[in-house]
């Protein structure tokens, strides 16, 4: 019933439908108010009634039906009926709050070739139109995937103009978006809310098998009066070509200085006929074009070299291809600089642990990178070169005093600290986390229940492979106290790996040691190695001279003095935080201290696989939702629109039919008397 009532903006007026009985009642009253006549010619009445059983009776019923229909149509008109794909779940009486969860990822910029309207713009236009109709008086809140910050809107039109709704080159993370929504709804205790999630249904953004969905389902189910709708743009432009720079290295060969690049062009499906695509390279402002033939789904231009000025020590560039469905993947920025070494400090009281950590940290994934590992005892910790070091591994009691402040500043500057438990855990804490005590682990308790595979240190690889943490054998572990972002959870619900809450950088607590007496971390190797390398990469972003980064809010910070070299102009995007959401090249410092950063869309944005309805069911589980499939630039399929005109037409037709049916039969002309 509520589904039906949801179809009207003024459902209370539907009580007026009872007036539909009026013609029938009047008819019955009219019948009751008959007069009585003594009559002799009954044989004609009987005969007429017998003849009249067909059409005339039907006509009378039709007249009544038309009168009822006209009244019902009138009531429907004043009740302001709505029509649209979200009917029955996402419209209806205005809710207390309306939450718009907007995927601003790069892939949402895929456009309709005729109208030029992107998926994001189409979604915003339609949601805005719907809100204007249905959400009068509701609090409108926007949460976008790039910032995850709730933003209250004055009116639905803001959706079209606000900077927070414009396109970005960032990745989409639907569970994070829903988490932010859940957090907002929980904190603000909204009585009832409509949640509209606008997404292009990319599998990598949704991660339907990820561990966060269970918490999300539970959280949303606890909230009363929540209606969830997904506005999905699952179509993929099959002729869209994307360009990615996989590598950009500065190489000196004798008297020559070259930029060596690996460039990949790809599209969702192989073209029917080979396509020649002019690829434009812009390096330090100098432009060159190379034609690339695309005959498969993907083509790589490996080792493409561009000769540079001999004295060039670094710089930036962009690779561009002609415009197509998605402008966001038609260019890829890159920066280059002479490679330098990345210092890593291992502060350890356990020589075996230090050795294992040093081995894993000192073998970089990139053959041109150099990781310089420095081993220090806890007493030597003051010797750490805080400005140059990318990662500090701390396997000692948590420091206090000046050392603790230095370590915290180090993290706030965007570097990484990885804590392993000391022999004797002390009471000190770091960013809200501290060590508890050592515990012997039984087989049942020590099994890994879940780990965060969608982001952070233990995320799946770019190709989607898991880090096999489920097979980790645990013999001894040190409990972790305090609240942080859980990366690994054991079967007994205890956290094994936590990330401290910090504004920048990363501080992780791993509750066991890598050696075989404590765990199989070093023996299995993969998770141990990858986590260390990722921690180094994360911390190294803020110290390398040329950094390839993914566009996101904290990719580069104003505090460090970064400014934009290329990409969108200052006029187009105000503020460094907003600029870091857009692809572009940035620099900081001058002369020898000059450093470059290229911000691009994440590789996952080029993965065109979309989530199936079954996967969607799996993700939402018992949570009720409705999916509205739409297309970029699609006109005439508004999410909701008032359809009173239809009822007006119905009423007019009903009245017309009634009038025709009521029209008296044409009388036969009387014969002229013979003259």
């Amino acid at each position: 019933m509520s589904g039906f009532l949801d179809m009207f903006l003024a459902p209370k007026l539907l009580w007026g439908l009872l007036l539909g009985a009026l013609p029938v009642i009047i008819h019955l009253i009219n019948q009751l108010r008959h007069r009585t006549v003594s009559w002799g010619a009954m044989q004609f009445l009987l005969e007429a009634r017998k003849m009249n059983k067909g059409m005339a009776r039907l006509r009378q019923v039709l007249i009544l039906a038309m009168r009822v229909l006209a009244i019902l149509a009138l009531i429907f008109i004043i009740s302001r009926p709505l029509a649209g794909g979200w009917l029955g779940s996402a419209t209806g009486g205005a809710p207390e709050a309306v939450l718009i969860l907007l995927d601003r990822s790069s892939s949402m910029e895929e456009s309709d070739p005729r109208s030029g309207e992107s998926k994001r713009e189409t979604a915003l236009r339609k949601v805005s139109e719907m809100l204007k109709t249905t959400a009068t008086g509701s609090r409108l809140v926007l949460i976008d995937s790039a910032t995850l910050e709730p933003l209250e809107l004055q009116n639905a039109d803001d959706l079209l103009d606000l900077p927070a709704t414009q396109g970005t080159s960032t990745a989409g993370d639907v569970p994070a978006l829903l988490e932010a929504g859940l957090q907002y709804l929980t904190l603000n205790k909204t009585g009832g809310a409509d949640v509209w999630l606008c997404s292009d249904l990319r599998s990598r953004d949704w991660d339907p098998e990820g561990g966060r969905w269970a918490t999300l389902r539970e959280g949303y189910e606890k909230l009363p009066g929540i209606r969830l709708a997904v506005l999905g743009y699952g179509d993929v432009a099959e002729d869209n070509v994307s360009v990615t720079v996989r590598k950009s290295e500065l190489r000196r060969l004798g008297t020559k200085t070259e930029l060596i690049m690996d460039v990949v062009l790809s599209r969702p499906v192989a073209p029917a006929e080979p396509l020649t695509i002019p690829v434009t390279f812009v390096v330090n402002g100098v432009r060159s074009v190379e034609n690339v033939v695309l005959s498969e789904r993907e083509v790589s231009l490996l080792g493409h070299s561009i000769e540079l000025d001999l004295k060039t020590q670094g710089g930036w560039g962009v690779v561009e291809i002609p415009s197509d469905a998605n402008p966001r993947d038609n260019s890829h920025y890159f920066v280059f600089a002479e490679p330098g070494s990345v210092p890593i400090a291992v502060v350890s009281e356990d020589s075996l642990a230090a050795e294992l950590i040093g081995k894993a940290a000192g073998a970089p994934t990139d053959r041109l990178a150099q990781h310089e590992v420095v081993f220090l005892s806890p007493a030597q910790a003051a010797e750490i070169d805080w400005d140059r070091t990318a990662l500090v591994v701390w396997q000692a009691p948590i420091p206090e005093g000046i050392l603790a402040d230095q370590l915290l500043n180090f993290v706030e500057a965007g570097r990484s600290v990885l804590f392993y438990p000391p022999r004797n855990p002390g009471p000190n804490e770091f960013a809200g986390l501290s060590w508890g005590g050592w515990l012997e682990v039984t087989e049942e308790d020590g099994a890994v229940a879940s780990w965060r595979s969608d982001s952070d240190l233990l995320r799946n690889t770019d190709s989607g492979s898991s880090l096999f943490l489920g097979e980790l054998a645990l013999y001894r572990r040190c409990s972790i106290k305090g609240e942080g972002l859980e990366l690994v959870r054991l079967e007994n619900d205890a956290p094994l790996w936590l990330k401290a809450r910090t504004d920048a950088g990363g501080a992780w607590f791993c509750g066991t040691l890598p050696q075989g007496t404590h765990s199989s971390l070093a023996r299995d190797g993969i998770a141990f190695y990858v986590s260390l390398q990722r921690a180094i990469e994360s911390g190294g972003r803020s110290i390398g001279r040329a950094r390839q980064l993914e566009a996101r809010t904290d990719a580069v910070t104003e505090k460090e003095g970064w400014s934009r070299l290329a990409g969108l102009s200052e006029e187009e995007v105000v503020g460094i935080a907003a600029q870091t959401l857009q692809a572009g090249a940035f620099k900081v410092g001058e002369g020898e201290k000059q450093r470059f950063a290229a911000l691009n869309r994440p590789a996952s944005e080029d993965d065109v696989r979309t989530i199936t309805e079954d996967e969607l069911e799996l993700a939402f589980g018992t949570l009720e939702y409705s999916l509205v499939a739409d297309k970029a630039g699609e006109e005439g399929s508004e999410l909701v629109r008032e359809i009173w005109r239809l009822f007006l037409i119905a009423m007019a037709i009903a009245l017309l039919v009634e009038a025709v049916l009521c029209m008296p039969a044409r009388r036969e002309p009387e014969e002229e008397p013979a003259s």
């Binding site: 006549v37 010619a41 009445l45 009634r49 009378q60 039969a665």
Partner: protein
């Protein structure tokens, strides 16, 4: 007993119009009606050859002088008329017009006036009533003023009730009235036209001169009702609630069909037929009836 018929005003308007039979009548006394029996009278009929035994007084001597043959002059015999009324007293005859006068009242007035005229010209008058069980009242035709009083008294007693038994009554009259008579049927004829046809033909077969006053109100033909109306059957059947808007067209079709069949039946049975509206003035109805029956001048 007070009665308002025969109305002197109506009689005055009729101005002494006589009642004629359309065919020869067999009577025992002299009257103004032709008799099928030839005799001596004032009206010449034909010549016939003399046969031995004929009355010599009726021999036409002038014809003998002219042709030298003996002819006897034949004259039509004038005789009196038997006027028999058959009045329908079924419930439907209780149908009243706006002034409250019923069809039966109208039938009584017409019958009484005609009876008076007939009695005055020396004809015999009889009265039969057709009720639900056939003939329910029976006054055989007789002459004389006293008998007229009996007929009028009997008319007074008639009441409209029950179903129609007109068909049986018509057959009964055909059989009961032995000699040729002018049978005046006054009824609304609400019975199947086929049955009517048989009954009229039966009367004609018995050599009766049949006249029919068909009493039918205009409302019964037009069915000019607008609001839903409950029709109570005057003959006792269950009532019917009818929306005229739904049914009037079909009703009129049924009436027209019925009237066309009645017309065909009347034509076939050579009945002197008069359709009479409840509002029609008695003097107009009767003068039209009497004038139509007057012999044409030669």
């Amino acid at each position: 007993m007070q009665r308002d018929y025969p109305d002197p005003a109506v009689l005055a308007k009729l101005g002494g119009l006589p009642l004629f039979a359309r065919q020869a009548m067999l009577g025992v006394v002299s009257g103004r009606h032709r008799s099928p029996v030839r005799g001596s009278s004032l009206e010449f009929a034909e010549y016939r050859k003399y046969q031995p035994g004929d009355d010599l007084r009726r021999l036409d001597w002038r014809a003998w002088g002219r042709s030298d043959r003996y002819y006897v002059k034949e004259f039509e015999a004038d005789t009196n008329l038997r006027l028999v009324f058959l009045i329908d007293v079924s419930g439907s005859m209780g149908f009243a017009g706006p002034d409250g006068k019923t069809k039966l009242d109208q039938a009584k007035r017409l019958a009484a006036t005609l009876a008076f005229i007939a009695a005055n010209q020396g004809d015999a008058v009889g009265l039969y009533a057709a009720g639900s069980e056939g003939l329910v009242g029976e006054v055989p035709a007789k002459r004389g003023g006293v008998h007229l009083g009996v007929v009028l008294d009997e008319l007074d007693k008639l009441k409209a009730e029950g179903e129609t038994g007109m068909e049986a009554a018509l057959h009964a009259v055909a059989e009961t009235v032995g000699q040729r008579a002018l049978v005046v049927v006054i009824s609304d004829l609400f019975l199947q036209p086929e049955a009517l046809k048989d009954a009229f033909q039966h009367l004609r077969f018995r050599k009766h001169d049949v006249s029919c006053f068909h009493l039918l109100d205009q409302k019964e033909i037009d069915f000019s009702f607008e609001r839903p109306t409950r029709f109570l059957d005057l003959e006792g059947s269950p009532s019917m609630l009818v929306d005229p808007a739904l049914i009037s067209k079909r009703y009129r079709e049924a009436v027209q069909h019925y009237l066309s069949v009645v017309d065909a039946t009347i034509l076939d049975a050579a009945v002197d037929y008069h359709r009479i509206d409840l509002d029609a003035a008695d003097d107009e109805v009767l003068s039209r009836f009497l004038l139509a029956r007057a012999p044409k001048k030669r």
